[in-house]
């Protein structure tokens, strides 16, 4: 059996079968068609867009090289603030999200209030636009008369992001927990594991791995929503671009900001895709 298998698989290397030839032809053909159609689209964009009557004006307003050069360093500098906010929000979101998800999975009747709290929390914060929460918490809570530095927009703006995003993360994690079959819990119970140990050693490790790609997507969304903090004061990249825009009456700084965002989010998106594909291959 092994021998036969060996000869069959070695054969195409020597002389392609008719099927292999056919498939190679189809592949070549689709590659050519794809290349041609891509070239046609690119050509159309490069040739046709500049033919639009307003192109010169658009070019001056959105793609001014001088404005770009003048504003880009300032934008990069402002982006550091985005990264900092992201860096301290992300772990707190992960922890809060996990805690809320666990609240919703509590099965003891005595702890029902905890379960209800989890449900209300996710309902409220998933249902509100992020910007609204940023405004309400960012201006509202410091308005109660907190002394400095406890009224800082950085603290309360970050809290708003954490509240909203942990609600999303909690739902994602909960779906991961739900995806683990009841038989696993039963098996763990038969081995003598307590409820807590079952969750910790059996359910969560599998659940978290299953929802990794979904959480990556939330991470990318968070990366962009950090810009919403600019509405309550912090001068991060979006606000800085807006300042340059109004001072120079030119939209080029927005293009610069978009490029900086893409430089971060495109690799992150690719990575999320990669994780998703790997997971699909594993589950097949």
């Amino acid at each position: 059996m092994t021998e036969t298998h060996g000869t069959v698989s070695a054969a195409p290397a020597v002389r392609p079968t008719r099927r292999a030839t056919y498939e190679a032809r189809v592949r070549r053909r689709s590659t050519t068609v794809a290349a041609l159609s891509t070239a046609a689209v690119l050509l159309a964009v490069v040739v046709l867009v500049p033919m639009a009557p307003g192109w010169e004006a658009v070019k001056r307003s959105f793609f001014d090289a001088e404005v770009f050069a003048r504003t880009f360093p300032g934008l990069l500098n402002a982006f550091l603030l985005d990264i900092a906010i992201f860096a301290w929000c992300a772990p707190l979101i992960a922890l809060t999200g996990l805690a809320i998800a666990l609240c919703r999975d509590v099965r003891s009747p005595a702890l029902f209030p905890l379960r209800m709290f989890g449900a209300v929390y996710t309902d409220i914060f998933r249902g509100l636009p992020v910007i609204l929460v940023v405004y309400l918490i960012g201006f509202g809570i410091p308005g109660l008369g907190l002394p400095r530095p406890w009224n800082s927009p950085y603290i309360w703006g970050s809290l708003a992001l954490i509240l909203v995003y942990s609600a999303y993360v909690a739902e994602v994690i909960r779906s991961g927990i739900d995806s683990i079959h009841q038989s696993q819990r039963s098996a763990a119970a038969s081995l003598g594991l307590s409820e807590a140990d079952t969750m910790r050693y059996v359910v969560l490790p599998q659940a978290l791995r299953n929802v990794m790609p979904a959480n990556m997507n939330l991470l990318i969304a968070l990366q962009k929503d950090v810009a919403l903090l600019s509405f309550i004061g912090p001068v991060e990249i979006f606000r800085q671009a807006g300042v340059y825009k109004s001072l120079m009456a030119n939209f080029t700084p927005y293009v610069g900001a978009a490029l900086i965002f893409l430089a971060i989010t495109i690799p992150a998106t690719r990575y999320a895709d990669y994780l998703l594909n790997r997971q699909r291959r594993r589950q097949r």
Binding site: A57, S61, G233, V235, N250
Partner: protein, 275 residues
Amino acid sequence: MKIVTSAITIACLAATGALAADHGACAAGKTLEEGMLTIATGNPAFYPWVLNDAPESGEGFEAAVAYAIAEAMGFAPEQVQWVRTSFDEAIQPGAKNFDFNMQQYSITEDRDRMVDFSLPYYSSAMAVLTTEGVVEETGATPEIAGMKDLRWGAMAGTTAMPILMDLIAPNSDPLLYGDNADVTAAMQAGQIDAALFDLPTALYLSAVVVDGGKILGQFPADRTESPDQFGLLMEEGSPLKECVDAAMTELTESGTLAAIEAQWLQDATGVPVIQ
């Protein structure tokens, strides 16, 4: 057909008054709609520039100036129509929906590269808005040295930010906000101590909006460093610019502009000058 209409328009305009006739001829055929002057303002338009968000009434400094310019250009009040735009709509490339736009646009060299400005209709003093509480707590006085340590705020879309950096150069980075309401909310929440505004806006905010609001002092309008002058914004290369400028020169020389300013904007001599 078009020639006939413009001929009729010119005839009509000539009939409205001999004085206005030559300016009317200047603007003929250059406005968006024949025989109509379309003016844009903010949404909403703020006190004291426009009263009650109703520019049609001609009440408020900018509304009054708008009608005076229209008259000098040969447009009767009923030939003026208003539209609303944001700052971004005013500077975006492409066709504009206004003949000129009037919402405290500061004339700057950078902006002038992208859009056209008329001659200035107002030179703005800049004022420091703060609260009684902050003054008590920090002992701030109208002196630049003492103001550097305050926590500063400003409106992002204005020239207040670069002027703040130029004139005061605070020790900590200022916080920026989208509109007046957000700046005052941050001030009320104690997140900022002081904010820089044009003087008329600061006077309004301190009197009406901010609890315990106080004007710490002003950088007078005729300062040489970082001056701030408001102009009408027009599309780059607008043919109407010369007519608007002619009207503006006429209003300035005849003292009409100064009279309108005296009527609608509070006298600012009582506000201490910042040393």
